[in-house]
Symmetry: C2
Subunit: 379 residues, 2 copies
C-alpha cells in the first residue's frame, strides 16, 4: 500500500542527500503508509505526540501504540514497511509512555547507530521528548528540517489514493441524501447532522470522522459552523458541507437545501451559484494557474451582482482536508492531471440566507472528472 | 471558570519555586481553563501541535488558533486568564503556522523577557519548533519538566467539574436508551452506534465526541472495539460502552443488551455481573486503597465461577477518559471524597457472549453517589 508515495519520497530524500528521516506529521504518516488512525476522541491518555515513521535506506518503520494496530490494516503488506507496536494500556504497572517509547523507538534507532550524515525530521510535530529519545540513540546527528517538504509530492494523487477519495466522496453523497430527506420547516441544524451522521456510518459499516458545516441561513454568521439548535424556518436555507474521512482520506463538498419552498429570490440566487460553479469547473485543466481560477470566479460572482464569498474558491484534498493546490488569490501553483480539487463558490446575506455549492473533481488531461454525485439543485 | 484549578496550580508552582510555565498537554489546558476544543477531525492543516498555555506570576494566557476561539467560550471571563488568538486560515497568503505562532507566542513571551529562574514545561507535548520559539523569546532559560505533574492535582474534582461530568453522564444515558430501543435480532453494531450517536447529538443540541465500544458477543475478541458490520443474532449479547465528551469532560459507562430473549445462562451471567458491580460499589469510600478494590472484585468474579475480566476494574475520569485513580492491581492511591470513578466488572466467553456493566460515581464522605442513571438490567 502506498508504494508510489514512498518511491517519490525515496527520490526526494536521495536528492537531498539524506538516507535517514524521522517523520512525525500525521498527514505524512498516512500519505507514506496508508495508516489511518481513529482520531475522533482526540488525545489518548496512553501516549503523547503523534505516531512516528522512521525511514532508513528506503525501509520504513511505523511506530504506533498497540491500540492503533487495528488502524494499520494493510500497512505492513509491502516488504519495505514494518509496523512496530508500543505498549500503551496495561493494568500491570503505571502507564509510562516515555519509557515505553524510549525502549521501542530508541531500540529501533540504535540498530541504525551512530554514523555520518544528517537525519531529516519534521520538527513542528516532533516533541522534545521524542527528539531526545532519537538523539540519544543516534548520537545527536545533524537534524535537517523537512516540515512541509512532502506537500508538493502529495499534490498529484496515485491510483490507490483516487480509490480512497472516490469512496470518501460517495459517503458524503450518502450524507446529502439523508439530509435532504429530513429537512423541513422547524428542523434544527443538529437534527440534520444527526441524521446524516447515522446514515454515513451505516453506509460505510464503520465509524467515520466527519466535518464541516451545517448552518441555517438565518444565522448572523451563516457561511459555516458546527451544527447547533438553530431551526430552519419555512422557506429558509441551510448549508450542509460534509467531509467524510475514509481510510485516512477526506472528501469535501457542499449543498444548500431549503425547508419547504424557497422564495423566487432564493431560487435565483441558487441558480446563479450553480452557474458560477459550472463556470469554475469549465476553467479547470492542466496548465491553468490556481489564482487565475480564483480571480475569474470571484469576478463572475461580483459581475452577477451578488456579494462575493470571503473564503477560498477551492482547494486540494487528500490525506488532509485542505491542501495544495489552494485556489486562492495569491497562489501560482499550476494545475496538473491527477490532482483532486474542490470548487465552492457561494454568496451570503448575513441573518437571511446563504448559498454555497461545492463539487469535487479529478483534474484530467483535458478537463475534469466530477467525483461528487449528489445533485446540486434541490428544488 | 476553573479558578480553583489555577489556584491549586499556583500553589504547586510556588512550592516548586517556579513563577513561569508553558503548558502544552491538551488535558492540562482543559483542566486549567475550561478550554474544550473540537477534536473529532484530528489534526488541523492550519496549525501544528496543541494549543499552549503560558503562565506568568499567576496570570494565564491561552494561545489558540483563531478557528478555536468559539471553543474558548467562558475561558477569558476571569481576570487571571487571557485568550490570545493566532491566525490560521487565510486566503491572502500562504498558511505559515510557524511564523504566525512565532509572532504571537514569541511576542507574548518577550514581554516576560530574559530574567532569572527556570520555566516549567510539558516537554512530552511541546514540539521542537514551539520550544525554539519560546527559547528565542525567553533567552533560553532553564527548563523544568512538568509532565504529569498536574495529574495528582486533578484527582479530586471541583464543583464546576462535577457539573460538566454530570451532564456528560446524562448524555451517555441518552445513548443507552437509544441503543436499547433499536437492538433486535440481526441489527449490526454500526446501526446501533448510528442511532445512539444521533440521539446524543440531538439531546445535547451539538456535536459530541464519542467513544468507545459497540461489540457483539459473538466476536472472537468481544471485550470491546469500534462498531462494524457484525450482526447481533437472536438472543445474542452486545456490549455498548459510551463515553460522551461534554465541554471537555468525559463520561464513561457500559451496558450489555440482548437481541430478543437471552438464554437462562446469559441471564444468570448478567445477574452475577450485576452483583459484582454492586459489590464493587459497596467497597468505595474515602480511605480505601485502589488496588484493594481491584483485588476484591476480581476475587468475587473468580469465586463466582466466571472468567475474570482482563481489563481494569475501574478508573478516574475528568479532562481525560482514563485517569487516576486507576482501580488496577498495582495502584496504592487512596480514594478521597470528590474523586469521580468508574467501576466495570465483566466476564467474556470469546465467540459466544460477553457481559460488562459499568457505573460512574462520585466518592462521597461515606460512600458514593451514582451519576449514571440508565438501568443496568435490560430484561
Amino acid at each position: 500500500m502506498h508504494a508510489e508515495q514512498r518511491q517519490r519520497t525515496n527520490d526526494f530524500l536521495k536528492a537531498r542527500g539524506l538516507s535517514r528521516a524521522l517523520f512525525s506529521h500525521p498527514e505524512s504518516l498516512t500519505w507514506l503508509t496508508g495508516f489511518a488512525p481513529f482520531v475522533e476522541l482526540g488525545y489518548s491518555p496512553y501516549t503523547f505526540g503523534p505516531p512516528l515513521l522512521w525511514v532508513e535506506d528506503g525501509h520504513y518503520t511505523l511506530v504506533v501504540l498497540d491500540s492503533q494496530v487495528p488502524y494499520t490494516f494493510g500497512v505492513g503488506d509491502d516488504d519495505d514497511v514494518t509496523v512496530l507496536s508500543v505498549q500503551g494500556y496495561t493494568v500491570d504497572r503505571p502507564i509510562r509512555p516515555v519509557e515505553t517509547l524510549r525502549e521501542a523507538l530508541g531500540g529501533l534507532l540504535r540498530k541504525s547507530g551512530v554514523r555520518g550524515g544528517d537525519v531529516g525530521i519534521e520538527r513542528d510535530t516532533l516533541s522534545m521528548t521524542e527528539l531526545e529519545i532519537a538523539s540519544d540513540a543516534l548520537g545527536w546527528p545533524g537534524w535537517v528540517p523537512l516540515d512541509h517538504a512532502l506537500r508538493p509530492l502529495r499534490m498529484v494523487k496515485t491510483e490507490e489514493e483516487l480509490v480512497k477519495l472516490r469512496q470518501a466522496f460517495l459517503l458524503a453523497d450518502v450524507g446529502y441524501a439523508a439530509a435532504q430527506a429530513v429537512i423541513r420547516p422547524g428542523i434544527r441544524e443538529i437534527d440534520v447532522w444527526g441524521e446524516l451522521t447515522s446514515a454515513i456510518m451505516r453506509a460505510d459499516g464503520a465509524r467515520v470522522a466527519l466535518g464541516n458545516d451545517c448552518t441555517a441561513g438565518t444565522r448572523d454568521f451563516n457561511i459555516g459552523g458546527v451544527p447547533g439548535v438553530v431551526p430552519v424556518p419555512e422557506g429558509g436555507s441551510i448549508i450542509v458541507d460534509i467531509s467524510a474521512i475514509h481510510r485516512g482520506y477526506s472528501s469535501d463538498g457542499c449543498r444548500t437545501f431549503y425547508a419547504g419552498e424557497p422564495s423566487a429570490d432564493m431560487k435565483r440566487r441558487h441558480l446563479f451559484i450553480e452557474t458560477a460553479l459550472d463556470y469554475a469547473i469549465s476553467l479547470v485543466r492542466p496548465g491553468v494557474v490556481a489564482r487565475e481560477i480564483d480571480e475569474k470566479v470571484r469576478a463572475f460572482v461580483r459581475d452577477g451582482g451578488y456579494p462575493v464569498y470571503p473564503h477560498h474558491t477551492g482547494h486540494g484534498i487528500g490525506a488532509s482536508l485542505h491542501e495544495e493546490p489552494r485556489i486562492v488569490p495569491y497562489n501560482d501553483v499550476v494545475l496538473e492531471a491527477g490532482m483532486v480539487i474542490l470548487l465552492e463558490p457561494g454568496t451570503y446575506v448575513p441573518g437571511q440566507t446563504g448559498c454555497r455549492l461545492e463539487h469535487g473533481m479529478i483534474v484530467t488531461h483535458d478537463g475534469v472528472e466530477i467525483i461528487s454525485h449528489y445533485p446540486i439543485r434541490p428544488f
